[in-house]
């Protein structure tokens, strides 16, 4: 399951024959989109950090098309779209998230559309049925307080986490898609169901503290020293804080869970052409560079993160990519184990 290294090796290939990535979008599409004048984006990205720079760049590139967005987590975003569609009053054109898309595909609401830029992406980062394409990556790793755990004594393997000296000092977010859920899932995927469960049983003896807050908030608690280590935090958060002087670092402890942020076009989008254009822009080299500039991890092979070691190819680690369907199918099971063993 070395998908990460696959991705890494694929990088070179794509770099070599990157199609004219700055190629302008189809003129007819642009004209049709301009006629629509607006695109509505239901997003799970952070407005201040990512959405505003992306929207601004899009509006500058395509004057006359306004980007309107509404931000919520995956759950509420899916609920809103499902209910709007049921009332035949869909407002959104494009939506994104790590796990938002499967229920909407099942409800028959998602268009099978991949922008031309999809050609630059490896198969793992786009849906074979064309329902989604990845816009940016997340890598979930342990994060440590370097004041409490010197780097050389930090755990390197799953087994190291079982050392009794960590008992009661490790925390994780109870979040199913970035926290306890993904950690449990990745262990089971790596070790297999039986060995994985046996490992998790041992891990439960370490009295992992569950915090019902985002991984970012749990990492903040690690930084203050409330806990020495957190499992499944976003590795780029650790780098951002460390850059400001916080005593924190992330560990390349494999397997690294990699839920991916994907974007989709809605079948009955009120502004379908503008929606297509936005998808294309987000996955274009230009859009991907903006993701990198605002400290997100761009999905397009060949576009490095601001801190290149955060991505598998730059950092030399393997990641287990968790596409939306995998999350949708397994989260229930993973959270059941969480409840049984860790609560």
């Amino acid at each position: 399951m070395r998908i990460g290294s696959l991705v890494a090796s694929a990088v070179l290939a794509w770099c070599l024959h990157m199609p004219a990535s700055c190629r302008a979008a189809d003129a007819a599409l642009i004209a049709a989109a301009k006629k629509e004048g607006r695109v509505v984006w239901y997003t799970t990205l952070i407005v201040n950090q990512a959405i505003r720079p992306l929207a601004k760049a899009f509006e500058e590139k395509y004057p006359g098309i306004e980007v309107r967005y509404s931000r919520a987590d995956s759950g509420p975003t899916a609920l809103k779209i499902l209910n709007e569609a049921r009332a035949a009053r869909l407002q959104a054109d494009v939506f994104d998230g790590t796990g938002t898309v499967p229920p909407l595909v099942r409800a028959g609401l998602v268009a099978a559309y991949l922008p031309p830029t999809a050609a630059n992406y490896p198969p793992a980062l786009k849906d074979p049925d064309g329902h989604w394409i990845c816009t940016n990556l997340y890598f979930l790793t342990p994060g440590i307080n370097t004041g409490l755990i010197p780097r050389e004594t930090a755990p390197r393997t799953l087994q190291d986490l079982l050392n009794p000296k960590w008992r009661g000092r490790i925390a994780w977010s109870s979040n199913p898609t970035a926290g306890a859920g993904t950690f449990i899932g990745t262990v089971l995927r790596r070790l297999g169901e039986d060995a994985g469960l046996a490992y998790l049983r041992s891990l439960a003896k370490q009295q992992i503290v569950s915090v019902d807050a985002s991984s970012r908030a749990v990492l903040d608690q690690v930084i203050t020293g409330e806990y020495a280590m957190a499992l499944d935090i976003f590795n780029h958060h650790a780098v951002l804080s460390a850059a400001k002087g916080a005593p924190v670092d992330w560990l390349k402890l494999e397997p690294v869970a990699a839920p991916i942020q994907v974007a989709s076009l809605l079948k009955d989008a009120p502004h379908p052409n503008a929606g297509k254009l936005l998808l294309e822009f987000l996955t274009s080299e230009e859009g991907q560079r903006i993701f990198a500039a605002v400290d997100y991890l761009p999905a397009m092979p060949g576009i490095a993160a601001k801190v290149p070691s955060l991505k598998p190819d730059g950092g030399g680690f393997a990641a287990d990519i968790l596409p939306p369907e995998v999350l949708a199918q397994n989260t229930d099971h993973w959270m059941m184990i969480f409840k049984d063993l860790f609560r």
Partner: protein, 594 residues
């Protein structure tokens, strides 16, 4: 007894304070002009339209399976079964009860005592108490909880100091405990108790207390046998609100309880709800229905108790003007208590947030940290002006909802307290939304608004309506508590003089209970502006309140940035709320001479 004639002009039929209850005058008065029944019907319709559709969708959701696409599936009792079959049900139930009673006692104790000192004594710190309530209600909920966790956490300043003093190597205060949860939740709700009780105390008649004092009772006896008894409806109203709210609370149980492995009834429910996309709301809905029954039982006892409303009429045709107690030396105790409340409710959590907001990354309070002081986070706030652009929309939403709620509930409370035919229904209807979880109400609102012929979905008005529904129960309790104090003889006097009941309401009752109306309005204005769970469902590109925009930072932004945003927002809310409150006091003072 002291006699004042300020309001005695119409007291010809009011020989004593219970005299009019079965008097002929009253019967004729209501019958002669009974537009009130029509009003009851209209109000019942309005409240019905607001409350019944979400209630229906709550009950329906609790009895049906949810399909993976979020549709309602087959009928099931599974959700209810799961609540009872939880392996640790009794432990959770016990924890929940301790949590809910502890919270209510702490909140009412703090809020009530401070309210009494502020309103009934000559303490010089009155405005500090109001400021504490306003600031604490204006602070986003999650930030308030985070601030306390930061202070009392294992690596927080309290434990660090205690460990340094005692030489202990282990943290001494464990905030992740039932006590810690009660303290934080109690602090959160004490402003509700303070505002409501202060309003009631302000309209309280000092005659009975003075009579007690003159008959030789000391201050404690007077308090217990007279003041507290007269306050019973208001105290119970607060108790019902806080009990139900803390039973269904999830922020403190999940943020504080979960790390401490303390399970409450709601813990499992809210974790379960977040587990899937779209969230499965069936389990949460079933729990709300159970809570609804519990609330109904509590309200039944409450309404039996206040049935003999005359016991609580303190505003009668005789003179009424609350006079402050002269406490003598005891007043220092009062001053100290009000100051302590100010420190605990306002200064300490705000200081924690201020510290965080001035740090480049979250770190505990220390001299060393001072070297890292930075204004970077504030720089960020003022360079993302768009958050502040959302401010006025947020104020329109909250002010609109608060006004709508108080208008409906003042009328409803008046009719209910005066026991007009059918009016008991109004009280019941207005209380139902107390148990709606934000997200459940949000889904119901989306469905209703999308089906409505008027294009309200996605606009500011959607928020006004939804917030109004959510905060009806609070408006109702504020209005009822005020209304219960006013003896009907004043309205009867108006009737004898030829005024209609509505005229009496407008010219006599509303001015008399204005403190309660202002407090209720203020409370709803402040808490609606910080609502996230309901608001996030209704947010659209065209209408989004600040709280929703701010809380995307909670998922991905550093705590220090969030603290800076939160503090700036709290400051803005405080300025607006204080301005409105001062304006209301002005009107009150000029129109009423209070």
């Amino acid at each position: 007894m002291l006699i004042s004639t300020k309001y005695s002009g119409g007291s010809t039929i009011a020989e004593g304070r219970n005299s009019g209850r079965t008097g002929l005058g009253r019967v004729r008065y209501w019958r002669a002009a009974d537009p009130t029944f029509a009003i009851v019907v209209v109000l019942a319709l309005i409240l019905g339209v607001m409350v019944i559709p979400p209630l229906a969708s709550l009950v329906q959701g609790s009895l049906r399976l949810t399909t993976p696409t979020g549709d309602l599936g087959d009928f099931t009792l599974d959700h209810y079964r799961r609540i009872l079959s939880d392996r640790q049900f009794y432990q959770s139930l016990a924890n929940s009860l301790v949590f809910c009673i502890g919270t209510a006692v702490l909140a009412i104790g703090m809020g009530g005592v401070v309210a009494w000192f502020v309103v009934r004594t000559t303490t010089p710190f009155k405005s500090l108490a109001y400021l504490s309530a306003i600031v604490s209600l204006g602070t986003p909920y999650v930030l308030y909880v985070t601030a306390w966790l930061f202070l009392l956490g294992r690596s927080g300043p309290v434990n660090t100091a205690l460990m340094a003093m005692t030489g202990s190597v282990r943290p001494i205060v464990n905030v992740y405990s039932l006590t810690g949860m009660i303290v934080i939740e109690g602090f959160l709700w004490s402003p509700l108790a303070f505002l409501l009780l202060a309003a009631v105390f302000r309209s309280a008649n000092a005659d009975y207390e003075e009579a007690a004092r003159m008959s030789g009772a000391g201050i404690p006896r007077t308090l217990v046998h007279v003041s507290l008894r007269m306050m019973l409806p208001a105290l119970l109203a607060v108790a019902v609100l806080i009990a139900v709210r803390s039973l269904e609370a999830f922020e403190v149980p999940t943020l504080v309880g979960l790390p401490g492995a303390i399970k409450l009834l709601t813990t499992e429910i809210y974790l379960d709800m977040k587990k899937s996309v779209p969230p499965d709301l069936g389990y949460a809905s079933a729990f709300s229905v159970v809570l609804l029954f519990l609330a109904a039982i509590l309200l039944y006892f409450y309404s039996r108790l206040v049935r003999n409303a005359a016991r609580f009429h303190t505003v009668t045709g005789r003179g009424y003007r609350p006079r402050p107690f002269e406490l003598g030396r005891v007043r220092y105790v009062g001053d100290a208590f009000v100051l302590l409340n100010f420190v605990l409710i306002l200064v300490v959590p705000t200081f924690a947030l201020l510290w965080l907001s001035l740090m480049p990354f979250t770190q505990t309070i220390s001299l060393n940290g001072l070297k890292a002081l930075t204004l970077e986070n504030y720089d960020l706030v003022f360079h993302s002006g768009f958050y502040l652009d959302l401010a006025w929309k947020t104020w329109v939403m909250s002010a609109g909802a608060a006004t709508l709620v108080m208008a409906v509930t003042v009328l409803s409370a008046w009719l209910a307290v005066r026991r007009r035919p059918g009016a008991f229904l109004l009280d019941g209807l207005a209380t139902v939304p107390l148990v709606f979880p934000g997200i459940v109400l949000g889904v119901a609102m989306i469905q209703i608004l999308l089906a409505a012929p008027v294009p309200v979905y996605g606009t500011i008005w959607a928020f006004v309506i939804a917030f109004a529904i959510r905060y009806l129960p609070y408006g109702m309790r504020y209005a009822s508590s005020g209304m219960l104090q006013v003896h009907p003889e004043l309205e009867e006097a108006a009737g004898v003089a030829g005024g209609s009941p509505l005229l009496a309401l407008r010219r006599i009752v509303i001015p008399l209970i204005r403190p309660a109306i202002v407090s209720g309005w203020l409370f709803i204005f402040l808490v609606a502006a910080r609502d996230v769970s309901l608001a996030v469902m209704l947010a659209s590109p065209a209408a989004e309140p600040v709280a929703v925009a701010m809380f995307d930072l909670w998922g991905n932004g550093q705590g220090t940035e969030l603290a800076a945003f939160g503090l700036v927002w709290t400051a803005m809310m405080t300025v607006v709320a204080c301005g409105l409150y001062a304006a209301a006091r002005q009107v009150e003072a000029s129109g009423f001479g209070a």
